[in-house]
Symmetry: C2
Subunit: 340 residues, 2 copies
DNA sequence: CTGAAAGCGCTAACAT
DNA sequence: ATGTTAGCGCTTTCAG
């Protein structure tokens, strides 16, 4: 692997000065037909590519945005990331990703260091979980920043999904169908306090005058849902279960089925997210849709606005909030309770 | 948003020269306790971060690797990406991603341009699909490159999963269970010619002296599997179906079930991948496991070796190939054929 | 141990 | 239209 050609090599090869090559490259100034041609030939013959590093250093503008996330493979994360990437690519930006595995200071620092060492135009943080929330405060304040989250944090531009309202609507629907109460299997919360999903569920029950049964915590692993489903199978008072996400709901349905409880005949089970496989499940899953792709695209759009402002040396724009609804999706996994 | 501090600001603030600050930063030379301390304080007070751009320009080495992929949200892609990221982060590299939506020259160029404008240490291409395969040849030859793929391309370092062998093993298993033949529902191939999965299936049939029935093509959308399942339900000669991936298999099972065909009692259905939800499906899916996370980690490891060699100005190492086995995972969705 | 000087590859100003 | 000059922020000689 020999030294890659630099602009000076091209200039020499074409018999012109370095700035002339640069002018051909950027198209920012007129160059005679003849020289332009020679330069282009030299570029092709040498296989020259301008150094992005030198360009970035000279121009002082970065065309890279970073995404910080607790993981990149679980459904919501992956699709949000894809939405951000789509918006960024359309705007000619590259996307840098870094996973923050836990909320330890050290982990966060290690994850951010290589990212911050790049020339960055801005950062999007997926604040879906404690690592993401913790990462939020480690972002240098001079960098445009947008958080994607289920809960509001003041002072930061954010795109949020109104989980609370979606969960409440689902809970009300279940109560209206005749269930005496709705049990809740929660996914790990993003912060110390309860998630929006859990809060919406609790609120709907309270407003209906129904005491909230204890929350059953699940992990992110669908297998934890299976174990919970098996436990719930013995409890004949449980007729409706709202799960923190679709994968857990799938696990719960499986656990119930293994113990002979049928869904929705014996127990109604609902999820959250509208996972691509939710409508293929048997029975098809009643759930609350989160449009992660749109979430991601809007996160980038919000960031782009800040980047534009920063570039004009304008003051950082007021922290904006974009809020999405999470609509109820009724399918076959829920229904009226058994008549006893 | 004011101009971020540069090294000269730190030097001035600490009352030392610029090189001294640099020495503190890199740790490449001794600095007196006193000055080191003052520099560190100045760095903290100013919130200074060294410019990765300038560093990269000066040192000529980049700590960013790019990943080119057809998408980032489907299971195999997302997990492979996560594996690459994990390896890269452990090695102090940042990961840049870009999606290549189709195999058009223009699309590829547009996707690569912002990426190549960055200082790159190397590129990993997910050559799972035609866009990925096409992107492969658009990568500048002086850049360390690793392809992750299901099929071998000579001359490029690669990490591949032996899909062919896995598919053949699965097919043989189905034949051994007593099925007269095995039908195949294919996912879109990565190249013009057939995928490894399809080839392995075909080979196993040929070796068993069984003529291969026509391949039924599916799209990446699980819903296409549902439609195919419905069609297959009428064909009583179809007793075993090998699907190109688990999501399609889930769709096929659902389509069959909607038409009253039970799995595995009436028809055996198998998938490929071992998707996280495969074992929660009813019935749990027989499949062939692809360890995407490992694939990703090894792709980075291979790339790191090339990067190291490039850094030592050594000749590019011989194109290495790492091949993984894809083991059969037997679950409940397959069994012996109905006795007629 | 420390500062002065040089230069990484490129582009923008400034002269022609 | 084109070449000359300067400089982006940093690290590494080179003197002292």
């Amino acid at each position: 692997m020999t030294r890659p050609p630099v602009i000076a090599d091209v200039a020499r090869h074409a018999g012109v000065s370095v700035p002339t090559v640069s002018r051909v490259l950027t198209g920012n100034a007129r160059v005679s037909e003849d020289k332009r041609h020679r330069v282009e030939r030299a570029i092709a013959e040498l296989g020259y590519r301008p150094s992005g590093t030198a360009r970035a250093l000279k121009l002082g503008l970065a065309r890279t945005v970073a995404v910080l996330a607790g993981n990149t493979s679980r459904h919501g994360y992956a699709v949000t990331l894809e939405g951000i990437e789509e918006g960024a690519r359309a705007a000619g930006h590259a996307v840098l990703i870094s996973v923050v595995e836990d909320a330890e200071q050290q982990t966060i620092a290690a994850a951010m260091e290589p990212v911050l060492a790049q020339p960055l135009a801005g950062i999007v943080v997926l604040a879906f979980d404690p690592p993401g929330v913790a990462a939020l405060s480690a972002v240098p304040r001079d960098l445009p920043l947008v958080a994607v989250a289920g809960a509001r944090t003041t002072g930061i531009a954010q795109v949020v999904i109104d989980e609370d309202a979606g969960a409440a609507e689902l809970t009300r629907h279940l109560l209206a169908a005749g269930h005496a109460t709705v049990h809740h299997v929660s996914v790990p919360p993003s912060r110390r306090r309860e998630d929006g999903r859990t809060r919406g569920w609790r609120r709907a029950l309270r407003e209906a005058g129904v005491p909230a049964p204890p929350v059953v915590p699940a992990t992110w692993d669908p297998a934890s849902g299976v174990a919970i489903g098996r436990e719930l199978a013995d409890r004949l008072d449980v007729t409706a279960v709202f799960c923190g996400n679709d994968e857990i709901a799938m696990g719960v349905i499986r656990g119930l089925a293994e113990c002979g409880r049928r869904v929705p005949d014996d127990v109604s089970v609902a999820g959250f997210d509208d996972h691509p496989l939710a409508r293929l499940w048997s029975p098809p899953l009643t759930t609350v849709r989160q449009d992660f792709a749109r979430l991601g695209r809007e996160a980038f759009a919000l960031l782009a606005r800040q980047i534009g402002a920063a570039h004009n040396h304008a003051p950082r724009p007021a922290a904006r909030l974009v809020r999405h609804a999470a609509p109820l999706v009724l399918r076959g996994s829920t229904g009226p309770p058994v008549r006893s």
